[in-house]
Amino acid sequence: MQITISEFGASGKRVTLVGKLDIRGAEVIDLPLATVAGGRQSVVVDMTEVDFIASIGIRHLVLAAKAVARGDGRLVLLNPTALVTDVLITSGLEQLLPIVRSEDEALAALRR
């Protein structure tokens, strides 16, 4: 799992994840994701290149979303694959971890 952090729009952060969000991937993203989420900015997690997700990965996304919300921001997931989307929906999280399919949609979601 690789994690890259960059700017997104005027006041957000983009977290790009590549690889498996499994037990090993969750360990890799733990500290950098928590740091970004605690920064009082909205966060777009680019999931385009995440090819596997397990509940431990979901746990880190939920914890990050909670931290972002405490700072009045939003966390959205950008373009997860169909298989990863199915896991998120099956977990009942599509309302709490909104899924967007384009950068424009992400910008609109963060403005709400």
């Binding site: 498996k20 499994d22 037990i23 090993r24 360990e27 596997f52 397990a54 509940s55 431990i56 979901i58 746990r59 939920v62 914890l63 979303a65 909670k66 919300a69 298989l83 896991v87 099956t90 977990s91 009942g92 999280l93 309302q95 709490l96």
Partner: protein, 152 residues
């Protein structure tokens, strides 16, 4: 044997592939199990969705053993067997930790708001959602969990 029956038998033989491997109980082992299953799925040319479900179920079982299984000894281990079937993939997951039955359906999570959402506790629900068949027994040494993931 009539030709039609012979062809059916040949198909079953072609699908009757199986591999078994023993792993420890650690974070590295949980990751190694998934690396191994991913490789098998590619080698056997199992469709992605079926193998994804198989990998997810085993990843959740292995993580559950690691995080919640009560250790019996320092030699605790897991044994994973994967079989390719004409209907999909059949798996058997054995772990030597204290008896635990994952077939009991977990209570639904109450995720009304982000604030109240529980970050944990989704693993068993995912297993129940992705496994078409889930069985459990304890043979005195191992928790034996059987799973079937059917191809769409």
């Amino acid at each position: 044997m009539p030709r039609y029956d012979a062809e059916l038998c040949a198909e079953e033989v072609a699908f009757d592939q199986a591999e078994t491997r023993v792993f420890g109980v650690s974070r590295d082992d949980v990751a190694a199990i998934d690396d191994w299953l991913e490789l098998i799925g590619t080698r056997w040319d199992v469709d992605k969705r079926t193998m994804f479900g198989a990998r997810l179920c085993i990843a959740e079982l292995a993580a559950n053993t690691l995080e919640h299984g009560i250790a019996i000894s320092g030699e605790d281990h897991t044994i994973v067997t994967v079989r390719r079937r004409s209907f999909g993939v059949e798996l058997e997951y054995l772990d030597s930790r204290a008896p635990f039955d994952p077939t009991a359906r977990p209570a639904p999570l109450r995720d009304g708001t982000l604030e109240s959402a529980d970050a944990r506790g989704r693993g068993l629900s995912l297993i129940h959602a992705y496994a078409d068949k889930l069985t459990y027994s304890h043979d005195g040494t191992y928790n034996r969990i059987g799973l079937i993931i059917r191809s769409a």
